[in-house]
Symmetry: C2
DNA sequence: CGGTATCCCCCGCGATACTG
DNA sequence: CAGTATCGCGGGGGATACCG
């Protein structure tokens, strides 16, 4: 029995929404049409099997649908009912931002997800005209390297050297850059404090801080009583 | 691993909120201080074991706390951080009301929960001065009887005849009365259509429709596109 | 009332391989 | 890329009994 057995609107909503992984899947889909692979990149710790299992009831409930995306490609997209879940995601994220995002433990600081977030938060209009390749290396994760290929026409995240040469190297802690994404820290201050180190030509070191955006939750009025736990 | 591994506020919120049963538990607690037993009555299909298991992380996260309630009694209560989850419950219920409350299947129409809802939705100020005992019997659930003891000083729900004598007898379908609670149907119309039958003195049959309230979600602006599924 | 303690079963989920 | 198929395990959770 997967039903709560209640006709209460909260219970009816929870049957669909309050399922493990589902809020994260919906969060990704709120950014627009998306392919299965990109969806998986946004929620990397879910298995493909389980992702499919989560998408099925969302489809059956009329919350998502599939649309053709070129030859032999399909994308997922929210329906009107799915878009109506936006305020729920927003309310949940607002709570999470105010009450749970201050002291993050290592468990929440996956560099894969950080890179995917940095990619999403890039301020496209602030990027330089030339192509810039930025390499990232994180303390405590020496085994993983990332390359961000920045162009105004589009941005790529690579796990292997794309071969164009590296314009800027970023070394730092995941915590510091996550704090920047969340708007809890200033990138320039993190650099000054040595939590993030930039290696490259001065124009790229100067430019980098201007390319990064922050989550839209950072624009919320702060809750004074919110404590770190 | 119970963490999503993401520092995103939505993920951080979901780790706590999007757990099975948790939204229903929080919904009950938003009504104010509550004892373990009453909490269980509002979520009758959860086991006591599991209810305790769900309360523990809420306590550890600083969302709920326990307060003394007389000698040897304790109640649960939301903290400030817990009250801040109110907008999330509200957003979820709003979605559920608009997109999932139109066509309910039997699985969602548990008479136990209906009675608990009726009890909560009674308009205390509209009750008569005298004590009135209302007995309920539902089609398809002939084995279960309920008595609602109405007094302006307080209301009791009993599973055994309280012995004061019965002033009014209500026979009907769970679906019809659930529709009334949700504001989808008018109780007078349900009576006229034979979905609900009242047996008793005329003044009680006249009074009964005035005693019932509807969920506050019914006051929302209707979403035109919302379909029944 | 307000929970613990214990037993045990099932299925949710991860790992791995495969397909069009 | 976009999933499906299969196997196997672990623990989530139901049932029941107990306790202060």
């Amino acid at each position: 029995m997967s039903s709560y057995g209640q006709f209460c609107p909260v219970a009816l909503g929870a049957e669909i929404f309050a399922e493990r992984w589902t809020p994260l899947i919906l969060r990704e889909m709120l950014h627009g049409e998306i392919s299965f692979s990109d969806l998986h990149r946004g929620v990397p710790r879910i298995s493909k099997n389980l992702l499919v299992q989560r998408l099925q009831p969302l489809h059956a409930s009329g919350i998502i649908e599939q649309v053709a995306a070129g030859e032999h490609r399909r994308h997922y997209r929210l329906t009107v009912a799915g878009l109506a879940l936006g305020p729920v995601i927003d309310a949940l994220g607002t709570w999470g931002y105010n009450w749970a995002s201050k002291d993050l433990d290592d468990e929440h600081l996956d560099p894969d997800f950080l890179m995917w977030s940095l990619r999403r938060l890039l301020r496209m209009d602030a990027l330089p005209d030339e192509r810039v390749v930025v390499a990232f290396r994180f303390r405590g994760h020496a085994d993983r390297l990332y390359w961000l290929v920045l162009q105004r026409s589009g941005v790529d995240l690579c796990l292997h050297d794309p071969g164009y040469g590296v314009s800027l190297e970023v070394n730092g802690t995941v915590a510091a850059l996550a704090g920047v994404c969340l708007g809890h820290a200033e990138i320039r201050r993190a650099i000054h404090d040595g939590e993030v180190e930039l290696l490259g030509a001065p124009r790229h070191r100067k430019g980098f801080p201007t390319w990064l955006g922050v989550t839209h939750f950072a624009a919320l009025p702060k809750v004074a009583a919110a404590v770190s736990r």
